[in-house]
Every structure is written in C-alpha cells, then in structure tokens.
Symmetry: C3
Subunit: 346 residues, 3 copies
C-alpha cells in the first residue's frame, strides 16, 4: 500500500537506463525491473541484446524462467517461443501459423555500450537519442566499477550522490573530516539537460580518502554534475597529476528502489592497481553508509505518509535535479539556462 | 492489497469441498480455510464431523485454539462451550441460561466420505446435494493419495491439472517427451455440470512415466474431465491391462491458494506396490513443478495488476472450466450440452 | 492495509504514557512509538528527558540514528543539531543563522517520575495535568517490574488485564483452578475518570499462584480498577498480612500494539526475595499466555475485517473501559458516577 502524501518520485520513461553489465547477460535470460516494469533480457542469434516484457502472452508465466534457443526465447510453461522483437514464432501443439499480434509480447529497445546493456523502458517505442557515453579509459587512467541497489527514490539517490555536507557526518573520517571549516564559493550552472556545481577554493579533503587523493595537499578543482535523466558525476582534480571522475548511472528500479552503477575513473601519481586496492574498501564503506541512510530515510517518509523536507541554500543541487526530472517526466521543453554563486563552509 | 485488474477468481460457495483427510481430524480441533472463511472442524460425541466458524462469539478468539470436550468445543480464552450446531451451551461464571442466539457461532454442513471430511462453506445452509463419490477401489486396483497446496486460483490449478501441452515442457522427460510429434484428434463434450476432452490416436507417452505406463507401447485411451465445482479427472487406458484414473479434488482455500487432494487409482500388469514405488517420486516431481509454476504465474499476474491471457484452440478445457465455474457462482442454470472436434499435435 | 470493520481502537492523545524505563535512556537517543507517532527521546544537558518527533526537518532521516552532543541532538545524515525544544541550532556548512521555525521539529512534553520516562504524545502541547503517581514502596513491601509488548489494542489489553473469567481457562492451574465454583457478589463503581469492580466473598484462588498467595486460606479482598487513560490495577488482600497491588501502565504503541509496564508491589509473611523468586516464573507464564491470546484475537479480528464481540454481565469492566476511553478521545465531560451489584460464579 503506497502512502498518499508527497514523495519525490519522477518517472521518466523515454530515456535509456542501464539494465545490467554486459558480462551478466549470457545464455540464461535475465530478469530486470525498470520503472516498475518487469523486463526479460536475452541475446539474439547475433549476440545483440533483446528485451521483452517478462510475461508470456499465453498464461503470463515469467519468460525469464524460460530458455534461450538459438537467439529466441522459449517459455518454460507451455513452450511458446518468441523472437527478439517479441513476435510469437511457435505455439507447440498448435496446427497452423503461430504468429498473431495478440500472441506477441511488448518489446523494449536495447543497446550494448561501454560494457553495459541499456534499456529504453517505453514499450514498443523508437528511442529518442542514444545512451549516455561513458568517458573513455585513456592512457594513465584506471577504471573501477561497482553496482549497488538502494531503497530510495531516484531523486534521493541522485541528491545523495551529489551532496557535499553529508560527507562530513555520514562518512565522518572517511571523506571530509571535522577539521577547521573555511568559506568556499559555489557556482551553480544550469543548462538545458543538466545542472552543475563548481566548488571554488575548497581545501584538500581531510580524512583517509583525502590523504589518498593527494598526500602533498594542493588546490582542488571540484565539480558535481547531474545530467538527465539519471547521471550523477563528481569530478575532482588536485594539481595536474590527480584526476578522479566518478560517474554514477542510476536506474530507477521501482519508485523506492534505485540501482547505482558507479564508474570510477582515476589517474594519480601512484600505480593504478595500488590506488584501486586502497579505494575499494573506502568506496564500499561509503556506499554502504549511503545505502543504509537512504533506506532509513525512505522508511521514515513512508511511515509518516510522505516527505516533509526543508532545504537551505547549501542543498545545492537537490531542487534543480527535481525540477529537471519533473520537466522531463511531463515532456516539457528544456529548462532555461542560468548561473548563480553563493558561499558556504566546508 | 489486492490488485484491481481481472483475475480468474470464481467463488462457488454452495458446493462441497474436501477440508481434510479423515485421519487428520482426531481429538484436537482442526483449523481449515475454505473460500477465505476460517472454519474449525471437530468430532462430535458420536464421532461424526462438525464445522463452525473459527471465531468465538464472545471475544473472537479462534475456536481452533480450544479443546474438544465430550464432543463439544470449548474456547481457550474464557471457556465458552459450543455444540456441533454452533449453539453456546456454557458461559463459565455466568449465572443463568447460557444459550442465546447472539452467543452462537455459524455452522457449516460436514460429511465424512471416502476417507475425507467434506465441508459445505455456506454458513448455516442446507446443502444442495451430497459430496462427489470417489470411484471404489475394486479388485486389482491400487490407490495412492497425495495432498499439495499451490499458490494459484482454483481455475489456474484446474486448467493446469487438465492441460496437455505443458507436460512436454514443464515436465520434460518425465511425462511427455520431445519425440516426433503426430496429429491427434480431440473430441470435447460439454454437459450440464462437466466438460470432457477425449484424445484420439494419441501415441504412448514418451519419457520415464510413459515407459512405466506401458513398456510394450499400445493404443492409448485418454480422457480429461472437469466436474463442477472443483474435480479434475484424468483417465488413461493402454490396452486392456493398464488403467490409470487420477481424480483431483480441489479446494479453494483463498482466492490465490488452492489445495489439491489427488487420488491416483491404477491397475497394471505389475504388482501394485511396485508401481506405487515407481510412481510416487515421479508424481511428487510433477506436483512440485506445477506448484512452482503456478506460484510464479500468480506472482506475475498480481504484479501486473491482473491477468492478460491469450488462448488458442489447444487450450482445450480452460475456457470451458471458467464458464462452468462462473455459471455456478452466479447460480445460473446448467450450461447447454455440445460436442466439437479438432486436431492438434502431441 | 487496515480492514474497514469496527475495531476497539481509541486514541487519547492528551494524556501521559510511559515511553521507557529511566534506566533505558542514557547517552544514545532512544526511538519510541506512541499512538503511531515515532518519537525520539534523549537527555538534555541537565539530564532531564526531552522528546522530539523522530524525523529530521531537513531530509526526514530518523533523529534516533544521531547522537546526543552536550544535551542536544545531532542528525546522523547532514549533522543538523536540535535542542530539547526542537529548535534547530546548527546547519553545518550554512553561513548565517541556523534557527528558523521551518527548521524546527515538533516536541513532546516529557517527565521522569518513579523510574519511568512519561511522554505526552500531542505535539507542541502544554500537558493538562501530570503523570499518574505510582504507589510508593513503603516498609515491608517489595516491588517487581516487568514490561511486555502485546499485539492487541489498548482496549483489548486493558480488558484482559482486568478480566476474571479467563484466568480459569487461559491460565488454568496457575491462577484460578477448576475447583468447585461458588457465588460471589460483584460491586461495580464508576467515577469520573475510572471504574472499579469489587469482588465480595471470593474464595482463595486455587492453583499454584493461589497457594503461594496464602497457604492458610482466608478471606480475600479483591479490586480491579481501570483509571483513565491506560492504567489497570488489580489489588488483592488476604487477611492482614498479604497484600498484592499490580499496577499496569499501558502505552498504546500503535492501534494493534500495546506496551504493558507492570509494577507488582507486594507484602506477605514470607521474605520479599523469596516470594519474588516464586512469583517471577508464574508472572512470566501468565504474561506469555495473555500475549499469545491477544495476538490470536487480533489476527482473527483483522482477518474477519472487524470485531464481532458478544458480551455478558460477567464481562465486568470491558464495556466501561471502552466508554471511558471514547469519552476521553472525544474530549467529552467526565462520565457520570454510579454503582451497581450483581452475582457471578468464580
């Protein structure tokens, strides 16, 4: 039972979302839920991904219980067979033509890009545009990927991923420390499909992660970006040597469940394998702390029958993300562009 | 929360259903649910079964927590005592007459027949007719009984029990094999309270079960029958020697939960005890596969907010069962009789 | 999903309820639910208890996940800090004044009395009156405290705590035995905020507990009292030596969940420690039996979509408790006073 109050739920269906990593989709059909819709993924004869509604047209058995036979999907219950476009190509036992429109199942556009399978969760639709392209892993860079599922709305997950103040409390000691605060400038730039915050004059972060980033200190360049419909990107530079780019591809599984596919790309003066060894346990801990808090936040909002949020100036991107999501959900024209600046302590 | 879409739920209350096996009802009162109604069974002084609403008239404690005392049922909370007709015959502590209509609980007609206790789940009603009689176990026949509960509607369980095509996929290798298909004729006969399919020209089933049925092959006579309100019957003959009659007495526990009491009666050229040894593990596996699929089918239908089924000619009995159930639920006159024939592959 | 039928749920918010024992509230903030409202308790600088809505004004994280810092409560997510009155006194990172009315959280009056923390669960309200005072532990008396949570309405728990007839069945052998019954007089007195039953001519209870109460028999004085909004009190005297006073402070956690804080005060001719040793296992068993039955009673009522109770004269206090609770819930003037007498068997 869904409570009746207000929740930060936006459902943008005409967009691409990561369904799984490429290596997760092999011989066996794979069930995935996007925006509450149960979808089955499989590979067609040529190996390219296909996606259908995970429900046999006959007796509604989940097609993901079935098998892929020469690039087609056979239901486990009565053996109805479907091609990659959702057409029924066999009804075992039936004499005559199997294919009929009433026997087909809705299909979803699918793409394989950058090691992920992307799905466009609007049934039988021609996608507008192509999936977001990940930055390439060029010389000197190392990439780490990590997927976690959180019990929270897409909006809550995005705001959390791009929020600065919580790092000093929820991730105390790991990321931003409790050292003396100083004033920094924040420049927020909103464009048609994105909003970006630049933090100017930020000191090198204290704590374990900060010390790993740059043992010698140095000036920090720090951007937080949201790109429609579901990309959160955090970019850090420390001098010319250190560069961290964390791109989180969010997938709205259900209204209160979001899957985060984080791609951490970095270059430092240390060997990539070493930094990776150091980063992974810290990243895991940060993700776990965020996931636990998002779960408790969601429980509280549901228990109280809705969200009752209060914001201040330093909730830098949350409201902008929300406005962009709602515009996209309603199919409104791109948001106007603007820039503003203010100060906060960090 | 029940989804709002369409579900194949029919509730025929003015009919007899198996509540339990005779041997399950002893000294202790036994709780059972039929058509969503909580019922308590117990044995009266003479040993005959009685059934009351499982709710004390006083403070609504389940009477099934209580005890049977000399053929009457005493509530475990305050000790109110009821006879087999649901009349309150004692209120401990109260001075004066205990019996009053407001203190009685609704009763249900109960019968003990063929090793089962049958209940008529319409409260305080006089039954129209008597329970279905099981075929007697005559010379040369062996009987095996088995009860399973499945998460599916009565209709889904009945259709599954009488469906031929799924056996080649869901029960692959156990029942019908993947051998070369051949055309067979199907003759469907609908009568007032039943519908029957006769499969003409069917080859001996392949697979383990088939080989057990008749090692030497032979012509098969095969009938599938539905008898109102909840009997599924499958009959096989191979020549003069082998005869299998599987009668499944279904009980609608709740809308999406059905209890199947299967009575397997058979005669072969082998000793009964030996065939029984071979049949039991195969039957258990078939039941488990059906139960697992019905559960997944139900989950999918509920998740999608309703059933979206498509049928073909070879869904031989499903639609007929549904029409008969709905007629009975609405109290409409018996269905017209007809016969039709068509071909399928098996 | 809450069923739609009638349930004995009364919600009296303008009253004091025990939230926890004094010793349970230390350094860590403590979450408690009263009348369905999530409340966080903590100790302010001086050590006195404070209670706020358990929801940060910022992003609704439960404040009970946070920490008490010098008598103020800091949220674990972004570090917002609140004083004991619910005012926001710090928003980390924000330049300028933190305190604003939109950033405060509702507070609840709290008192520490007799080893319990009491909460007045009406947000931001001035309490009418003070918490119920427990009888003092004077010379020769021993006190035992015990807290249990039951799945039942406040009304069901109160009626159960003050009901005589069920003790002979649910607690058979422990409390009242199955010995020969005799007639006793019951005098019921209703006053503005309470109702009391006096049992006159009651024999010494049979069973283990009865024998412990008074090995030599003797005349029993027995009162059962309900005091608004949630106090159940049972008082027994056997001659001049033995005196038992069981005061149960009930807290309505949610509509179908009630917390019982029982304070058992007694004086006998035996040493207190010895009686305590004998009483504790018996009391535990009685509480467990009552909790199990209340749970089953609640399940039955919810399953059947509401309560369908029938009462008799010997349901002495249940209806009176209900009327007093409903008057209090509706804010009606105190109930009229009266006295009546009748007979029952015990």
């Amino acid at each position: 039972m869904e409570p009746e109050g207000r929740f930060s739920v936006a459902r943008v269906a005409n967009a691409w979302y990561v369904a799984c990593a490429s290596r997760e989709l092999r011989e066996k059909p794979l069930p995935r839920t996007i925006l509450g819709t149960a979808i089955v993924l499989f590979r067609t004869g040529g190996g390219s991904p296909a996606a259908l509604l995970d429900r046999c047209a006959h007796r509604n058995a989940p097609l993901s219980l079935g098998r892929t036979i020469r690039g087609e999907l056979r239901c486990a219950y009565h053996g109805w067979r479907y091609d990659g476009a959702g057409a029924c190509v066999e009804v075992p036992g039936l004499i005559g033509e199997a294919e009929k429109s009433a026997r087909s199942v809705p299909r979803f556009a699918a793409r394989e890009r950058d090691g992920y399978i992307w799905i466009y969760p609007e049934a039988n639709a021609e996608p507008a545009g192509e999936p977001f392209r990940l930055p390439p892993v060029t010389g000197g860079y190392t990439e780490v990927r990590r997927t976690v599922e959180v019990e929270g709305t897409l909006h809550a997950a995005l705001e959390n991923a791009l929020d600065v103040p919580h790092t000093a409390f929820l991730h105390k000691g790991l990321f931003r420390g409790a050292g003396a605060k100083q004033r920094i400038r924040v420049r927020v730039t909103r464009a048609a499909d994105r909003v970006e915050a630049e933090y100017i004059g930020e000191p090198r972060p204290e704590g374990i992660a900060g010390k790993m980033l740059s043992p010698s200190g140095g000036v920090v360049t720090h951007f937080d970006r949201f790109i429609l419909p579901s990309i959160a990107q955090v970019e850090y530079r420390l001098g010319a040597e250190n560069h961290f780019l964390i791109t989180t591809l969010c997938t709205p599984v259900e209204d209160f469940r979001t899957r985060l596919n984080a791609v951490i790309l970095f270059r430092t003066r240390f060997p990539g394998w070493l930094v990776r060894l150091l980063i992974e346990p810290v990243a895991r801990r940060i993700f776990n702390q965020d996931a636990a808090m998002l779960k408790r936040q969601t429980e509280a909002a549901r228990r109280f029958g809705g969200e009752h949020f209060t914001s201040t100036e330093i909730d830098v991107l949350g409201l902008q993300i929300w406005q962009l999501l709602k515009r996209a959900e309603r199919g409104e024209p791109p948001a106007e562009e603007w820039r503003r600046e203010f100060e906060m302590e960090a």
